[in-house]
Assembly symmetry: C2
Homo-oligomer: 477 residues x 2
């Protein structure tokens, strides 16, 4: 498949994405409407994402647990906004063990409700707080229009659920986890993100405040890449999560939830990918380096393969794949691994063997510019340097792209035009009516109210009334 | 809770088990019939099991992937034995996104069918083989009688699914994975197992041959701890998994599947646990060492806590927990961590501080026998030695227990009696009628036909006809 041309991003970004996901064998369509199979290459990427996040969760005191996939329908109904937000998308088990169930079971769209039920049982005293639990699982939301990784009926994610003694602690936790996501996105995935608060209309169903990291994709659209919610006492009141404080008074807890999903794989594809295929961030790539032998005669073959083996073995702390496939040309292999986004290629040919060198080719810099020939002995030191450099380089490129496609419009007409080609950063009064007008007329929404504010005040870009905050407007996935 | 007495194993093994799972906070009952919540301490144990297995799967060339939890009902019906085996236990989604589904979706009880569908799509040529995929997920089987970890409506597991070009390769894979499980059980969990073949009646629904590792629990009952199935061409024919061989002829693949679940947590509890609580195998224990400070005065406190910190830090490659809880006595902490099965306790008191020593107390040897005082500087070297010794010691104890409760009965009457108190190893003709008689009259089943056979032949313990193999009979969980 690697020899068929991928559509270019400029001619059809959506089709480029769909074909790339299939050809790179990241995922495939499942025989169930809207569901996907994550293939081994895609799953290895997800496993690396999981490991990088899990490390951060544990470093901030969180522990993992396993909660059931089924939730009694009545649980969802206990929090009014929550059930309104999720009920159109539920998958419902009505028959089990050959019998009609008395109460239908919902396949979890998210676990706040069943978490709430168990926390109410487990938490008795301030000594039990905080509870800092994370779940790695999959959830189901029966979406009408689906797209591999970005929006599937079932998707994989982690969902953190915490309970605290005070409003301040809950809020601090929600903010802390957003920082964890931003740190992960930028330092592991090389995806620059804007941290901010969601508008009222874009908030999680049942939250007091929702925070988000927003990234700009290669077609200038926004992707909500992870969210963190301060749930206040909404779920604690709905599920009676109470504790005895130091003065022996019963108090409601303050809870949070936060999640990052396989959607983020979509962000990686769309932020870094180019017309040749994937460009995977080195710290998350299933293979960081591919070693490709080049030879014609049997004699060359033996010497080259021995050298390929040696190079592979010399890269101890690097995820290396040596491509020893027979029956395909080196050129085919180059294209294939380029399409699959391996950050660095090592080429070993007869001349390299003779001279004691290898050629290194960077995925992020096409052609000559990204190639260098180094002595064989220098490889173990040079490869980690290059991987680190590739990370920095693709991060800078993505950041520059976002900056080049972000404008500060002077008026509404300019905003309406700007959001067709990227983000618009503009004063907003906070009124939902202004937000709705922008959405109806331009399809753009308030992606977030960034934490990073210029200070001062201005006039709402829509209605002209006084505004104290600026918002990012953009079309979203 | 740690100060309430646990029922002893001899007075009520089932109740000892149930209370221990709850008190040690391994798991809790979910608000959905037959489902469990795996709490952080239980999940940490499961994560260590996962890591130990995943390492072995990857070392034998397997890769992970993610398959949907929903399977169209029609898929299950394609393999006759498979649907007969699983249909009484299915949970069925009939409504999704607010609409009745045209075809109901089954929540996977196991994934052979949807795997078969995708493999048929992916596999074209002998060059695509073998396919060696493993999934970490949860599955649902609506069992009537449930018990935490041992039998729950939803449980966590891994399911391996492979496809091969020849019958021999398929069979070799199924056998290899059984060896992997046995190696894991013995070398990570210190659980001695008997490797063998399942009888026809105990085979997986749709398999040609099923292999199992069977372990004896502390009440002398058997637990099937993991299984591996040679599926022959049954699923390949049902799902049209075909490949072009080297001579360009279309052939059906040979497939296998194999799994180990959270049931294994039950095995760990019931093989090693004692009347004080859990005894966790050191290589899988969430905390391998707990450090407990002992002090009375504030002055002692400062010195002791500083030393506790130092000891904790000195144990680099060990999973250490330092218990700094205020308001509970050292004695309470000792009992608490004993109940939770931490393999090794380090006690630090004022006298230890003065003398530059600490006291080490083994969980597997009660009282004085398991205690030793060592110089502070010897701790980093001594702890790994002791952990290794504890592993060997609990393995030996479990093996001796099994041997002490396994008899080779001379006749049927002796067999019927023996299975009430353990395993019986006896010649069996292989006829299902004999197996059924034993089951009906004694509640024991053929746990397996061990790989390890004495050779020669004998007379079936039930019917007296010639028999070439001996079987393990026992009552099973």
């Amino acid at each position: 498949m690697a020899d068929e041309r991928l559509p270019s991003r400029s001619e059809d970004f959506a089709e480029w994405y769909n074909q790339l996901v299939l050809r790179a064998e990241l995922a495939d369509y499942a025989p169930v409407r809207g569901c996907m199979v994550v293939r081994p290459y895609g799953w290895a990427l997800w496993e690396n994402i999981q490991a990088a996040l899990d490390r951060r969760f544990k470093a901030t005191g969180h522990v993992n647990a396993g909660f059931p996939m089924f939730i009694p329908m009545s649980f969802l109904e206990k929090e009014r906004e929550h059930v309104e937000g999720f009920s159109p998308e539920l998958a419902v088990v009505t028959v089990a063990g050959g019998e009609e169930l008395q109460e239908p079971l919902v396949v979890r769209p998210t676990s706040e409700t069943i978490i709430g039920h168990m926390y109410a049982k487990w938490i008795k005293s301030h000594r039990d707080l905080p509870v800092l639990i994370n779940l790695w699982n999959s959830v189901v939301r029966w979406e009408k229009r689906t797209k591999l990784f970005l929006r599937t009926a079932e998707f994989y994610w982690q969902e953190g659920h915490t309970a605290h003694a005070t409003a301040e602690e809950g809020e601090a936790e929600a903010r802390q986890m957003l920082e964890v996501y931003a740190d992960f996105a930028e330092n592991e995935a090389a995806v620059p993100v804007i941290k901010g608060r969601k508008s009222e209309s874009e908030k999680f169903a049942g939250a007091v405040r929702s925070y988000t990291i927003e990234a700009m994709m290669g077609d200038t659209r926004a992707l909500q890449s992870a969210t963190s919610h301060d749930l206040g006492q909404n779920f604690a009141r709905a599920f009676d999560i109470q504790y005895l404080d130091v003065s022996n008074t019963l108090q409601y807890c303050w809870t949070t939830s936060w999640g990052l999903s396989t959607r983020f794989v979509g962000a990686i594809i769309m932020v870094h990918g180019d017309d040749q295929g994937l460009v995977l961030p080195p710290r998350l790539a299933p293979y960081q380096v591919v070693v490709v032998p080049i030879y014609r005669t049997d004699e060359e073959r033996a010497a080259v393969l021995a050298e390929v083996e040696r190079v592979g073995r010399s890269l101890r702390d690097v995820r290396v794949r040596t491509d020893l496939r027979d029956g395909v040309t080196p050129g085919f292999k180059f294209n294939d691994w380029e399409m699959r986004g391996v950050p660095l290629r090592v080429e070993v040919g007869p001349r390299d063997v003779a001279q004691g060198t290898v050629t290194l080719a960077r995925r992020d810099l096409p052609g000559r510019e990204g190639k260098e020939t180094v002595p064989r002995d220098a490889v173990p030191a040079r490869v980690p340097e290059l991987l680190s450099d590739i990370h920095a380089s693709i991060y800078r490129r993505a950041l520059r792209f976002r900056e080049d496609h972000t404008v500060q419009p002077a008026g509404y007409a300019e905003l309406a035009e700007a959001v067709q080609r990227g983000f618009a950063l503009a004063w907003w009064c906070g009124d939902g009516a202004c937000e709705t007008r922008v959405k109806d007329e331009t399809k753009a929404t308030v992606r977030c109210i960034p934490f990073d504010q210029p200070g001062g005040s201005g006039r709402c870009i829509v209605c002209g009334r006084p505004a104290t905050e600026r918002a990012i407007f953009g079309r979203a996935y």
